[in-house]
């Protein structure tokens, strides 16, 4: 657990500094989903909920993941406004910023927000988070498919709540 914790802290730092945000979120998701299927034996981080609570208290992780998402969308907007990409040529499947294709960048982050916020009773998606997603993907985004991803995600979140 010590080794994994060390790298989880490193991944949180990467998110904070907007370094390889997509991969940081992807690896964090994978670790949280797979490393806590049985008790860890760690005195304080025994299960997934403990891990998420630790990440919140040490790093305020949900917020920094949202900040990283906003940072990515800002860079996408700059690229699009500079006219470096043809919006009619399936922009979702293109690398706009940060090495990986846009569709994956959005999908991985949305899935992380949903999973992470459901993993501990102490963590909740707040109205400010939903406003961020709505503004970035629905109002500000120049890419039509971003809206679809947003609606699909919202429906999944609502289904889980009902």
């Amino acid at each position: 657990m010590a080794t994994m914790l060390q790298f989880i802290n490193k991944l949180a730092e990467c998110l904070k500094t907007n370094t390889m945000g997509y991969l940081s979120v992807k690896i964090l998701s994978s670790l949280l989903k797979n490393a806590f299927k049985r008790p860890t034996g760690h005195p304080e981080i025994e299960c997934l909920a403990d891990m998420v609570d630790y990440l919140e208290s040490e790093h305020n992780l949900l917020q920094i993941a949202f900040d990283n998402f906003t940072n990515y969308m800002g860079r996408v907007a700059s690229e699009l406004k500079a006219g470096r990409l043809n919006l009619n040529d399936d922009p979702q499947s293109k690398v706009i910023a940060d090495f990986f294709i846009h569709r994956d960048q959005i999908a991985v982050r949305l899935e992380f927000f949903r999973f992470y916020a459901h993993s501990s009773n102490k963590v909740r998606l707040r109205a400010s988070h939903l406003n961020t997603l709505w503004d970035e993907l629905h109002i500000e985004s120049l890419i039509d498919d971003d809206k679809k991803l947003m609606y699909t995600w919202l429906r999944e979140v609502c289904d889980e709540m009902s």
Partner: protein, 168 residues
């Protein structure tokens, strides 16, 4: 008996992996031989070097077959085998890194039998694997292909989970 076995193993490996004698079909069938020698802990440093050199040969078919074989036998490797092959991948320059290097390191780190080696040795190999995969995934920038970076990230996550289980 042991001396005879080692001598036989050497002969077979030299036949299969020598630059001037080997060919893809022969290498394709070599996985079983290498596995047996590894399970018997009969591989010497020279044998390992011979296998690695063949896997980096300038022949795409032999290279592919041997790298596939190495990944296939990773679970049979002892600590010295694992250290050797991880060390070799560490020496590969980032732009030359390929899928199979990443797969090999991931397999080496996730298939160690805890009853065969001490936890400390296990942790040493895993720590080196994690450092290597982290470097490729998070620090290589545009030096590696995206496919390799993505695979290194997945491999890193798998090895990390494995490390957590070992440290329990």
């Amino acid at each position: 008996m042991l001396v005879a076995k080692v001598a036989e193993g050497d002969k077979v490996l030299t036949e299969v992996f020598s630059k001037d004698r080997t060919h893809a079909q022969l290498v394709q069938r070599s996985e079983h031989v290498v596995r047996v020698l590894m399970e018997q802990e009969l591989l010497t440093v020279e044998n390992r070097q011979l296998i690695w050199d063949a896997s980096e040969m300038n022949d795409a078919d032999i290279k592919t077959e041997l790298q596939k074989a190495l990944i296939g036998v990773a679970s049979a490797m002892n600590h010295a085998d694992r250290e050797f092959f991880i060390g070799k991948v560490e020496q590969v320059q980032l732009p030359d890194m390929i899928d199979r290097h990443i797969q090999l390191v991931t397999e080496i780190c996730t298939t160690i039998k805890q009853d065969k080696e001490s936890v400390e040795l296990f942790e040493q190999v895993i720590a080196r694997g994690l450092q290597l995969l982290w470097r490729v995934a998070m620090e290589s920038g545009s030096a590696c292909e995206l496919r390799i970076i993505d695979r290194a990230a997945s491999g890193f996550a798998n090895v990390c989970v494995c490390a957590a289980i070992v440290e329990e």
